[in-house]
């Protein structure tokens, strides 16, 4: 097993750990807002580590960049969706100002 493989193994393990943490949060946290928090924060980080882990094995810069692009887009989408879900779940009153 080369050093690169060891690095991948470590990164994937850390990534999987974050996903597990996020999932535990989703299942165990008491309300929607804390659950969202667990999901978006932990899973985005987990995905980042998974991307980091697979990058050396894709055989080129372009595929590696594509995977990074996937990560960035996934974070954007998750962030936006989390905002929308959080706001929809607020009690019916004027939404607080946001930047």
């Amino acid at each position: 097993m080369s050093a690169l493989d060891l690095f991948s193994l470590a990164a994937l393990t850390v990534g999987a750990g974050f996903f597990v943490a996020g999932t535990v949060g989703l299942l165990r946290f008491p309300d929607l807002h804390t659950r969202l928090h667990a999901l978006t924060k932990a899973d985005n980080l987990g995905l980042g580590f998974v991307v980091l882990g697979v990058m050396p094995h894709l055989g080129g810069l372009l595929p590696a960049l594509k995977v990074v692009g996937v990560w960035v887009l996934a974070m954007l989408a998750a962030g936006t969706a989390a905002q929308l879900v959080a706001r929809a779940a607020l009690p019916r009153r004027p939404p607080p100002e946001e930047g």
Binding site: L73, L76, A77, G79, T80, Q83, L84, E98, G99
Partner: protein, 322 residues
């Protein structure tokens, strides 16, 4: 990794994925809450596209994720919200006897299919070799695209018209007074809000990816249906963020865009028929013709899918019906 470890890991993965597929499908079908069921269905669709990757069918994985999970999910979530807004009364649950009978029938059909699959003979003849032998004549390198557009292009031609038949039916579900008007509800999003920002950011990437997926269909997984879906999704995102106003369904450019793909496909087919063979692509120009058909189909598929999700005309056109 040795082959043994890999196949054990693979087996574990397949078993886990199969279990998750069944669990999400069960939640989608039998769960108590309708919205939860629809969400479970979307998760199911994404897992199913993973299963397609495992089955070596990347083209299908793309289509399942984009259409099966994505667009169908948007459609159903929108419909749940609409029914909730109306306050529509839910149907009474089926009587236990009916449920038992349905379960019996469902188990029977599933069992029969499982038995039939297990009874399949070994070393079955697929059409893979046949496709490979004729791939040269199709003008494309991706065998799935070759089957879709060339070998069984007739299916695909009718299928592209199936989408239009559904759209006519959807439009006809409008009120008389809204006929020819704008589809869907008015969408509000604050110009500075996250939704609007996201919707401004994504289209530039989405359009590039969509066109790339169509173009890649000639030699790699992708094609008109997958790419067209991505383009439709980008448009829907912009429409939901209130960045673009959907056009009135009576507008000529809209209707021309809808008919373009099937019309080009059908026209080429009839030209072929006059030359002796319906839907024939002469080998010398097959690659070019496939590209023309795929491009035209992409325009129509993207327009049709987006309008199918937006729904029947529900507001009068601001300029009045022509």
């Amino acid at each position: 990794m040795t082959s043994g470890v890999g196949s054990v890991a693979g087996l574990a993965f397949d078993l886990a994925l199969g279990g998750l597929l069944l669990a999400t499908a069960l939640a989608a079908v039998a769960g108590r809450n309708l919205f939860g069921g629809v969400v479970a269905f979307v998760v199911y669709g994404l897992l199913a596209s993973l299963a397609w990757v495992r089955l070596g069918a990347i083209d299908v994985a793309l289509a399942e994720a984009a259409i099966g999970a994505g667009l169908t999910g948007v459609l159903l979530v929108g419909a749940v919200a609409r029914l909730a807004r109306i306050g529509a009364v839910e149907p009474a649950p089926t009587a236990p006897v009916g449920k038992a009978l349905a379960a019996l029938g469902a188990v029977g059909v599933a069992g029969a299919i499982a038995l039939a699959v297990l009874a399949l003979p070994e070393g079955r003849p697929g059409l893979g070799p046949e496709v490979a032998r004729n791939l040269e004549a199709s003008g494309v390198e991706n065998p799935v695209t070759a089957v879709l557009i060339v070998f069984r292009g007739y299916d695909t031609l009718i299928e592209s018209i199936v989408l239009l038949a559904a759209l006519v039916g959807v439009w006809a579900a409008s009120l008389e007074r809204d006929w020819g008007g704008l589809p869907g509800l008015r969408q509000h999003a604050r110009p500075g809000g996250v939704m609007a920002t996201f919707a401004r950011l994504v289209p530039s990437i989405g359009i590039v990816v969509g066109i790339y997926v169509v173009h890649a269909g000639a030699y790699a997984p992708g094609g008109a249906f997958q790419g067209g879906t991505i383009l439709a999704a980008v448009y829907l995102l912009a429409a939901m963020a209130g960045l673009v106003e959907p056009p009135a369904v009576s507008r000529l450019p809209v209707r021309l865009a809808l008919a373009l793909g099937p019309a080009v496909f059908l026209g080429l087919g009839v030209v072929g028929a006059l030359g002796g063979t319906f839907l024939a692509f002469p080998e010398a120009v097959a690659g070019t013709l496939v590209l023309v058909v795929e491009t035209a189909l992409t325009v129509s598929i993207a327009a049709t899918l987006a309008l199918l999700v937006l729904g029947p005309p529900a507001r009068p056109s601001p300029g009045g019906a022509p």
